[in-house]
């Protein structure tokens, strides 16, 4: 569905993403892993159209640079790490914006379709009761669920997530990840995400790319990539010992 060939992103002299290639197929959940500053978020920004890159990113065989912003948005939905709101929009209004790409041009699906998708997204994320609430009154977890609902309403084929539950407590983390997992069950869909928590990555992901200093260290099936040997090298520490130590407290 989505493939990147030799993606390089430079900010001035600094090379943030260095010649990375990847491939995402239907039904896959591809995890981008690696230490801070490895270039994970930048790679995602390049796909989402927010960073200038060299190389080629193809969506269904077409260069994404040739796609109009609306066309791209109907195929790829993005959920950012942190969303803040300045104005008192209602939850429904924000979720409704997910249908923006469908309201433009001749491919307009009509108002009923829009309404249906918004309703479905609100139902999926359990926001039906909050639809009229002001965004300014929501908690961080609720806020992130609203933007997840927005991206569901957008009804893309590929979902791109940048640390979607990073600053949320584990209850919300679990909610968000199980929602995404359910979403992925429908055929014709795929997920690409950055996740810091390696255990979480291993649990949810099917495939992974391990990045370090902008370079691809390993890629493939998740169990082949997130190996103790690879992780110890990239993080420069005994990762499995640390993980085991953490977990043993609960046993």
């Amino acid at each position: 569905m989505l493939r990147g060939d030799h993606i390089t992103v430079r900010y001035g002299e600094h090379t943030v993403v260095d010649d990375v290639s990847f491939q995402l197929e239907e039904g896959q959940w591809l995890m981008l892993a690696g230490p801070n500053g490895a270039g994970k978020s930048t790679l995602i920004e390049a796909i989402a159209g927010g960073a200038v890159y060299t190389g080629r990113i193809e969506l269904g065989g077409k260069d994404i640079r040739s796609l109009k912003s609306g066309q791209l948005a109907r195929k790829i939905g993005v959920l950012s790490q942190k969303n803040t709101v300045s104005y008192a929009y209602s939850v429904e209004e924000v979720v409704g914006l997910g249908r923006y790409a469908y309201r433009q041009g001749i491919l307009s699906g009509g108002q009923d379709e829009d309404k249906e998708q918004v309703e479905r997204a609100l139902r999926l994320t359990g926001l039906e009761d909050l639809r009229r609430a002001s965004m300014l009154t929501l908690s961080g977890g609720e806020l992130q669920r609203v933007f997840l609902a927005q991206v569901f309403a957008q009804d893309p084929e590929i979902l791109i997530l940048d640390e979607p539950a990073n600053h949320l407590d584990i209850n919300y983390q679990q909610q968000i990840f199980s929602l995404i997992g359910d979403w992925l069950k429908t055929p014709g869909r795929a997920v690409l995400s950055v996740v810091h928590d390696l255990s979480l990555a291993k649990r949810c992901g099917s495939h992974a790319i391990l990045l370090n200093n902008g370079k691809c260290e390993a890629s493939g099936r998740i169990e082949d990539v997130l190996t103790p040997a690879n992780l110890d090298r990239v993080y420069d520490m005994d990762v499995s010992a640390w993980m085991k130590g953490l977990l043993s407290q609960w046993l």
Partner: protein, 347 residues
């Protein structure tokens, strides 16, 4: 509990428009009827009514004052108020910053510098002596916007913090020193152009009304059409791009439209500050932040506010006339502080 967080504005919106339109109409009638010279409502109505239907107007003092002085002024004030408020609302949405406005981020002073340069150098367009001033005002407004935005982006990509306001303030100071420099070094007849800093609607005529009307129909039409896009920007520029807004194109269109509108307004009436800052907030309190409702509401409330400010300026100390900028700045500065603290709490 959840009910307390709900917004009750949906039901209110249509009623609010009817109310706003009615208030605008009443305000306009009031402003045409009231002025420093007392003219009976009967004479006023006759003069306006007969002109509307092409009937001869009785030759009296009311005819000249109402039709040639008061009416064009009231129309100009209403159109400028609507334009400035609309620009403010669009800018606050686009930049996602509730303190953005032509006067706070330095666009208006840029436009007045352009107008002043056109005056000082005698720059005119063939066929229209006034066009040169207007075109330079627009170009400088756009140039200022681009400059201020690039500086602000370099500091903080989200623009949500107030660094853009700070840059705007510094830019305004910089421009005003250039303006003083030009005034110092230019011939005497530019010296009287100081009025640009406070704004004035005295002496406007129907040509200017037509121009403002045209600018507002075109630019206002474009902005009202971009309600969805501005909503997306108001939630976040990245979010806008993610839902499929052509971020660069929309931003360019909005910035050009705002520059044209502010350029026209400034070249006609000088810098009337704070209308664009305060009125969108009041409109937002009435109909919420959704630009599809907010933009028309700002349009109405901006017109009403400036009409009342001008009425105050014209009548408070009659026959002496106050500068309209004094009235709007007095009200605006207080409102600015209140908004600043309210948004501070909300954030």
């Amino acid at each position: 509990m959840k009910d307390a967080r709900n917004l009750k504005r949906e039901r209110l919106a249509p009623a609010t428009y009817v109310l706003l339109a009615a208030v605008l109409l009443v305000t306009m009638i009031l402003c045409v009827c009231a002025g420093s010279v007392r003219i009976s409502p009967g004479d006023t109505v006759t003069a306006v009514w007969n002109t509307l239907w092409g009937k001869p107007v009785p030759e009296n003092i009311a005819k000249n004052i109402i039709l040639n002085v008061r009416l064009p002024r009231v129309l100009c004030v209403a159109l400028s108020g609507a334009s400035l408020s609309l620009c403010g609302a669009a800018m606050q949405g686009l930049l996602r910053n509730p303190l953005a406005d032509g006067s706070t981020i330095g666009v208006s002073s840029g436009a007045s510098l352009g107008a002043l340069i056109a005056m000082a150098t005698g720059f005119t367009l063939p066929g229209s002596a006034y066009g040169g001033v207007m075109v330079l005002a627009m170009l400088f407004a756009f140039g200022s916007l681009v400059l201020i935005l690039s500086l602000a982006y370099a500091l903080d990509r989200s623009l949500a913090t107030n660094s853009i306001i700070l840059i705007g303030v510094i830019y305004t100071m910089f421009i005003s020193s250039i303006i003083s420099l030009i005034i110092t070094f230019s011939s005497e007849h530019v010296r009287s152009l100081n009025f640009w800093t406070l704004g004035s609607f005295s002496g406007v005529n129907y040509d200017q009304v037509k121009l403002l009307c045209l600018a507002l129909i075109i630019c206002g039409g474009i902005l009202l059409h971009l309600g969805d896009e501005l909503n997306a920007f108001a939630i976040g520029e990245d979010n806008a791009r993610h839902v499929g807004v052509n971020v660069k194109r929309v931003k360019l269109i909005v910035l050009i439209t705002i520059s044209v509108l502010i350029g026209v307004c400034v070249s006609i009436s000088g810098t009337v500050s704070f209308v664009g800052l305060v009125m969108p907030h009041i409109a937002r309190m009435l109909v919420g932040p959704n630009h599809k409702r907010l933009l028309p509401a700002s349009l109405f409330s901006g017109a009403i506010f400036l009409l009342l400010a001008d009425l105050t300026a014209r009548t408070l100390m009659s026959p002496v006339e106050l500068s309209i900028g004094v009235v709007t700045s007095l009200v605006g500065a207080v409102a600015f502080v209140i908004i600043f603290y309210r948004t501070g709490k909300a954030g």
